[in-house]
Amino acid sequence: MKSGSNLERLLEKGEFVVTGELGPPKGTDVGVVREKASMLKDNVDAVNITDNQTAIVRMSSIAAARILIDEGLEPNMQMVARDRNRIAMMSDLFGANALGIRNMLCLSGDHQSFGNHPEAKNVFDIDSIQMIYMVKTMRDEHKVICGDEIEGDFKMFIGAACNPFADPFRYRVHRLAKKVEAGVDFIQTQCIYDMKRFKEFMKQVVDMGLHERCKILAGVTPLKSVGMARYMAANVSGIIIPEEMIERLKGAGKGNVASEGMKIVSEQIQELSEIEGIAGVHLMAIEWEHRVHEIVEMAGLLPRPKAE
């Protein structure tokens, strides 16, 4: 076992896993974290804790992840390369490990120009792929980058993101291969709406045997409204939403769009679970945590399995 986390053990057992996502509050309100956690509990196997997503200042992912542990859930701590140099990263990783955090996601991070402090200086000392390698070195060689020994245990199940919908498409599988080469244990993809392109991507992944070297969780986000779908398609880099999906939402009629969105996402989960190389789903129901139980149930994935 690399970290012995619930997520790792379930994946090792061959269970189809479900991970969720929780955005910490823009302040100190622990109640928000606890409330969202209670909605996710027993519905997902681990919960991503975002690290100042879209470069908006929020409670640190380490602190929120620890609160989650206290609530009886397993966190998957996100860490971005935007705000920390290698010294701060390794130091925070020691701290996170000491607090019981056993899963992490290595990310480049959204550029600060998207956030609420666009005047900030970014760091980008190392990139997400180098971060994967750094954490692997810490775990497997028990050393920090310079070669100094780590005092005490260091265990981490190492994750990273993958966006099959970014460009250039033909290079995307090679970028995933680089993450595998660097030592990633699991991958969570960007939200999938364009199933055709995703299947094409997964064929390349399987042809290269990458699914045998890391576990791939397919990312999904329920569409709450037609406006949200249009906004995401137009403004979020690397998200492709087919027009027919937007039409289907529209066709549901007033008052039924949200439930249609949930129906679409549960069907997507079904379809994704049948794709070769997919080991689970990552359900990003941002500010829709109260619907997670229903979505996972509709997808036929309840109750969640136990690792033991």
């Binding site: 180098q130 980058i145 250039p168 680089k178 880099s237 690397g238």
Partner: protein, 230 residues
């Protein structure tokens, strides 16, 4: 070349507030080529200042001068220039940040009877190239350890908004960067160039951590060439 941009007039006016003898010194090198701080721009700023003072009915002298390079003694040691500086209360340097600092040090070394105040007339923006009439774009951040051989002659440190060494990130869309549809994704360009060269395999291995010591992160930099020293 070093590319600069003239500071807003209001900012320059606030810097010279309270001074009655102003000297504007242009620089004949990079900032002349990028049309920000050469002879022409010195004349324009001079006229703007004179007009503004005339309008405010203030009796302020505005003089103009040029130095071929404000970053080298050889081109600064001009008796006419030094005489004008001596007579001024404040000097607006239209050079890059290097020139402003060099002028400050040089004039205060040569002129000992009073301290010389030099203020910047430009914002030094970047090291870049002139892509078309009126368009300049950043090409180098001076990281001190050039990687262009590996990346098809396109710099990821400078031209990727995240300075990624293993790009492109998930924000690359239709050849553009996530920060702006006007910014090319450097890694998209790198991949296309390497494909054309038949060298795409070169970026498949993981590029390891960069040593930032040769960059500004290692502290202010200095080169001493023993072979050039007399």
């Amino acid at each position: 070349m070093i590319v600069g941009e003239r500071k807003p007039f209001s900012e320059i006016m606030s810097m010279v507030e309270g001074f009655s003898k102003i000297l504007i010194v242009g620089c004949g090198s990079c900032v002349t080529i990028c049309m920000a701080g050469g002879e022409e721009e010195v004349k324009i700023l001079g006229s703007q200042l004179r007009l503004a003072f005339q309008k405010n009915k203030k009796d302020i002298e505005v003089e103009e001068a040029m130095a071929l390079r404000q970053c080298d003694d050889e081109y600064m040691n001009d008796p006419v220039l030094i005489d004008k500086v001596e007579k001024a209360d404040i000097v607006i340097s239209m050079a890059c940040g290097v020139g402003v600092q060099y002028s400050t040090a040089f004039f205060n070394r040569i002129i000992t009877k009073k301290p010389i105040k030099v203020v910047p007339g430009l914002n030094t923006t970047f090291m870049g190239a002139n892509l078309d009439v009126g368009i300049w774009e950043e090409r180098c951040v001076g990281c001190g350890d050039c990687v262009l051989e590996k990346t098809g002659g396109i710099c990821p440190i400078t031209r990727c908004a995240k300075s990624l060494l293993n790009g492109p990130c998930g924000g690359s869309s239709n050849g553009k960067c996530e920060i702006s549809k006007d910014t090319d994704c450097a890694w998209h360009l790198i991949i296309e160039r390497l494909e054309a060269l038949g060298e795409l395999d070169r970026i498949k291995p993981v590029e390891m951590y960069k040593d930032w010591r040769p960059s500004h992160s290692g502290g202010p930099r200095k080169i001493i060439r023993e072979d050039m020293r007399i």
